[in-house]
């Protein structure tokens, strides 16, 4: 709790600053309205058709690919931290949890190799291809 309390305080204060600025401007600023002012901005033209239309599926592909690679990256963080820290892999080897450092290293490399295979598959399928 002692570790996380300053973080929570910071988040609260950051949100309070943002909301406070909004509220202040709302109280101080003038209020005028008009039909033209209410229109969506389209470089001065009258807006044509609705905004909520179909859009390119590749944005979806980017999101999915991001999710896959980002989660895979997150799996690598524990290994990266444990690699050289005092209570890390060396301690695990001495405590008999893992048979050797080489095994952990090999496993991590194999994991990265699998990520690379997935990456090459995506590339070949044209996921990263934008016109």
């Amino acid at each position: 709790m002692d570790a996380i309390l300053p973080v929570l305080l910071f988040v609260a204060i950051a949100a309070a600053v943002s909301v406070g600025l909004l509220v202040a401007a709302n109280l101080i600023g003038p209020r005028r309205s008009g039909a033209v002012k209410e229109m969506p901005y389209e470089s001065g033209m009258d807006p044509v058709h609705d905004t909520r239309r179909r859009f390119d599926v590749r944005f979806h592909l980017v999101a999915i690919t991001f999710l896959v690679f980002d989660v895979e990256l997150l799996f690598l963080y524990p290994w990266a931290v444990a690699s050289r820290s005092a209570a890390g892999i060396d301690a695990a080897v001495q405590g008999g949890l893992v048979s050797s450092r080489g095994l952990v290293y090999g496993a991590a490399m194999a994991f990265i190799a699998m990520v690379v295979v997935g990456f090459a598959y995506d590339w070949r399928k044209g996921v990263f291809r934008w016109r």
């Binding site: 973080v7 910071f10 991001f66 690699s83 070949r124 291809r129 016109r131």
Partner: protein, 425 residues
């Protein structure tokens, strides 16, 4: 002690948060001024140099400009158009600014202060809001992802075609560059063995080898990715003025626009902090700062000054790049993220992991000094090989025509597929 009074650590944390939030908002305002001066200097004209003390003739080189701008924007109407989704429209700037401020909970802004027994601080006080947080890098990574929410919410809620397209583009860009960013971070985390940013600085100070020298490839990947994450030129497609007006904040005005712009500026400041802390040695400078614990106020001040000077230099570099580079096209941007930066990032990670794994064997084989040299030489060799490979495998930067020739891994049918040609971006 009264039970309702906050405890000493809480007070200390509050003081630090106050200093940091105030400092960051002021810095953002004055960095805008610096950027405008820089723009004027590059374009050979006079920048903002008029606003000084009101009702006098004192101009102070235009130092009153940020205050005048801020005051004016607060006095303007906070307008919400009728066609927007009101809740999301209001939430977006709050989310993005709160997230970009809260990132600094895990980012150190100096080394530490010596003990102040008079105030009850008996040990060194680290210049970091949450020194107990041992997932600092993850916190930074997570909150920089929340920026995507702000952009997407703003773009979607605006119900405006420019805003919508800008939001989509922007989120695709931020997502794509999050991965090279993470790969760059991983190399440093691996070499330092910690997710705490202050420990990462200490690791560089104790060896004297900044990670930019030990992992050149990771540094370049991280630098490029953080330019893209901050949406600065040459990666400012989210608000490419000539194409999308204001991008995701087209429909925003007044204070809400200000929140977006401040958040954007803070992203750049964050990026500069991270580049300096993770790759350029943080507060460490050979022969000036030392590397041990902080015993005197002088050392604390020198370290703070060195860190600030480095961060300011990186920010100036950001601004110079803005006026030196043309904007990428969207397909070039995506190619760079997925086909260049991601492979280079993986190459860097594998190299660093291998070097760190076999360093003890290396030390026993050739001795401490040579091991250090080899451990730096191998990443540099990989850096040059990767650079040349990337240059040979990707089309020339001056070729601005749409690419029809398949890349090394592209399947032919992808190009010939008639369906693909019909897709409009």
């Amino acid at each position: 002690m009264n039970a309702f009074l906050p405890s000493l650590p809480t007070i200390v944390a509050l003081v630090k948060i106050g200093l940091l939030v105030g400092g960051l908002m002021t810095a953002a305002a004055y960095l805008v001024l610096v950027e405008r001066w820089m723009a004027a200097w590059v374009q050979d004209r006079k920048g903002p140099n008029r606003v000084g003390i009101p009702l006098t003739k004192i101009r102070l080189f235009g130092l009153g400009q940020p205050l005048a701008d801020g005051l004016k924007i607060i006095l303007k109407e906070d307008f919400t158009p009728r066609h927007v989704d009101k809740v999301l429209y209001t939430a977006a700037p709050v989310v993005i600014l709160a997230a970009s401020l809260a990132i600094f909970a895990a980012i150190p802004f100096g080394s530490s202060l010596p003990a102040i027994p008079a105030l009850g601080l008996t040990s060194e006080e680290p210049l970091l809001v949450a020194p107990g947080l041992d997932v600092g890098v993850l916190w930074v990574f997570a909150l920089s992802s929340i920026a995507v929410y702000g952009v997407l919410l703003g773009g979607w809620a605006s119900n405006n075609k420019y805003g919508f397209l800008g939001g989509l583009r922007s989120s695709a860009q931020l997502l794509a560059y999050e991965i090279p960013l993470g790969l760059g971070l991983l190399g440093v985390v691996l070499a330092a063995g910690s997710l705490k940013l202050d420990t990462i600085m200490d690791a560089q100070a104790s060896t004297g080898v900044w990670f930019a020298f030990a992992q050149p490839l990771g540094f370049i990947v991280f630098l490029v990715a953080s330019f893209a994450e901050a949406a600065r030129l040459p990666f400012d497609l989210p608000e490419a003025e000539q194409e999308l007006v204001g991008g995701y904040h087209t429909e925003y005005s007044g204070i809400k626009l200000l929140l977006f712009l401040v958040a954007e500026f803070l992203h750049m400041v964050t990026a500069a902090f991270l580049i300096v802390i993770m790759f350029l040695g943080g507060w460490h400078l050979w022969g000036v700062t030392g590397s041990g614990p902080v015993e005197t106020w002088l050392v604390a001040f020198i370290r703070f000054a060195v860190l600030s000077a480095k961060i300011f230099a990186v920010i100036l570099f950001f601004m110079l790049v803005r006026w030196s580079w043309p904007r990428f096209r969207f397909d070039q941007l995506m190619n760079l993220a997925w086909k260049v930066m991601l492979p280079l990032g993986i190459a860097n990670l594998v190299t660093v992991a291998t070097v760190e794994e076999f360093r003890p064997q290396l030390v026993t084989a050739v001795g401490e000094g040579w091991a250090k040299t080899v451990a730096i030489a191998i990443p540099w060799a990989v850096f040059f090989v990767g650079w040349i490979a990337a240059g040979m495998l990707t089309p020339s930067g001056t070729d601005n025509t749409p690419i029809r020739t398949p890349g090394p891994l592209d399947a032919e049918h992808v190009l010939d597929d008639p369906q693909r040609e019909l897709v409009e971006v």
